[in-house]
């Protein structure tokens, strides 16, 4: 009996540690609330299952699993699959947005280049911008010289 409660203690401590770890990441703003919800849900589910004596046993008997820890694994795997699927969705969306950002950036860059070329038609032959009498403001001077 003591052996069993020790095991339970370790399991509860593990689930609590996960919960606290996720909480701490959110508190430090390393993990956004948006993505923490699923993790918190997973941690709470595990905590309830391992902390509530008899719940896992009766649940697993109800669904026909003779070895209760297997039910725990099944639940944990289910949660992991949900998390991974969610991340795949997020990655796909980010990839798409990233692509669109890169395209817009390239188009804007091209537009700036062509505007600059048009405003200095002889830029190719003309001496570098720093030799041209420039307004006294230093930063602008450097900016045009760097082209």
């Amino acid at each position: 009996m003591t052996n069993l409660s020790l095991e339970r203690g370790i399991s509860v401590a593990g689930a609590l540690a996960l919960l606290l770890f996720v909480f701490e990441l959110v508190r430090r703003k390393h993990l956004s609330e948006r993505y923490s919800i699923l993790w918190l849900l997973a941690a709470v589910t595990l905590l309830v299952l391992v902390g509530w004596k008899g719940l896992l046993t009766s649940l697993s008997h109800d669904v026909g699993i003779s070895y209760p820890p297997s039910a725990l694994f099944a639940v944990a795997i289910g949660l992991i699959v949900i998390l991974l699927m969610y991340f795949s969705l997020v990655v796909s969306r980010l990839t798409d947005q990233n692509k669109i950002l890169a395209q817009r950036l390239a188009l804007l860059q091209q537009r700036i280049d062509s505007v600059e070329r048009r405003s200095e038609p002889s830029a190719a032959q003309a001496p570098p911008a720093r030799d041209v009498p420039a307004p006294p403001r230093e930063p602008e001077h450097e900016l045009s010289g760097s082209r």
């Binding site: 798409d96 947005q97 692509k99 669109i100 890169a102 395209q103 817009r104 950036l105 390239a106 188009l107 860059q109 091209q110 280049d113 062509s114």
Partner: protein, 257 residues
């Protein structure tokens, strides 16, 4: 007078790009040339600009689909009426650009013309490895069955679209290995396309985008995309699906370029 654009996707094509741009200028002087530098680590963009092309520099490698879509976005923004895709490695002979243009203009119903390697009448077709030929044949029969017309070279990237095609591709273009899906995309939008025979040259430099190890992935990915695409109603879903970002180019069009 229509405004025509040749879009040249290039990734580390420093050896070939200047010659490609020059040959387009020579063979088709009525086409502006846009080189889409897909995050090259060499001087592809500089060489292209020096050769007199406009250059769209992707900040990192997007893959051929993202790069080409960028080119079509440019064509849409700048108000081009015709866009032709010419590979940066010199495989596509620019002397065929006017054949494509003539075919496109010959039929106002037509939205896209593709240069096919396999319509050669003189028996001197395109040579490539057996596996690639089998792959192309599989795609060819699948695409032909779906579109209800004979498509001999679904993987050819040598294609020309009119304004309507530019609009479709600027808003929605397949990610990687886009050629096969692009034909079906046109079909899904009820746009008409056809093929004319062209001769393709061996590539001047560089490696094919598809190595033999990747060809299995290529087959699976494209067939999956084609299969899933059959269950997608593009024209209606496109607006709602991509409105935050995909709708952007449309608003830019209204601005005078």
């Amino acid at each position: 007078m229509t405004r025509n654009l040749a879009i040249v996707p290039a990734f580390n094509e420093v050896e070939a790009i200047a010659a490609t741009v020059a040959s387009i200028h020579e063979a088709a002087p009525d086409f502006d040339v846009l080189v889409v530098d897909d995050g090259s680590s060499d001087d592809t963009a500089e060489r292209a600009a020096a050769a007199g092309a406009e250059v769209l520099r992707m900040p990192f490698n997007l893959g051929i689909g993202g790069a080409m879509q960028g080119g079509y976005m440019y064509a849409l923004e700048q108000g081009y009426d015709v866009a032709v895709q010419v590979d940066g490695d010199g495989q596509h002979d620019p002397c065929h650009i006017h054949d494509l243009l003539a075919r496109l203009h010959s039929d106002p119903e037509l939205n896209m013309v593709t240069g096919s390697r396999f319509l050669q009448t003189d028996g001197e077709g395109y040579r490539s490895s057996a596996t690639r030929r089998i792959g192309i044949r599989v795609f060819s029969s699948v695409v032909s069955a779906i579109t209800g017309q004979r498509v001999t070279d679904p993987t050819s990237g040598f294609r020309m679209t009119n304004r309507r095609g530019i609009e479709v591709f600027a808003h929605d273009y397949p990610h990687d290995y886009p050629e096969v899906e692009a034909i079906l995309l046109m079909h899904a939008h009820s746009l008409r396309s056809c093929e004319i025979p062209v001769r393709m040259r061996p590539r001047l430099t560089g490696e094919s985008a598809i190595s033999s190890t990747q060809s299995v992935y290529y087959m699976v990915k494209v067939l999956l995309a084609v299969f899933v695409g059959l269950f997608r109603r593009r024209p209606s879903s496109e607006g709602a699906q991509r409105s935050p970002a995909g709708g952007e180019p449309a608003t830019v069009t209204e601005r005078p370029a």
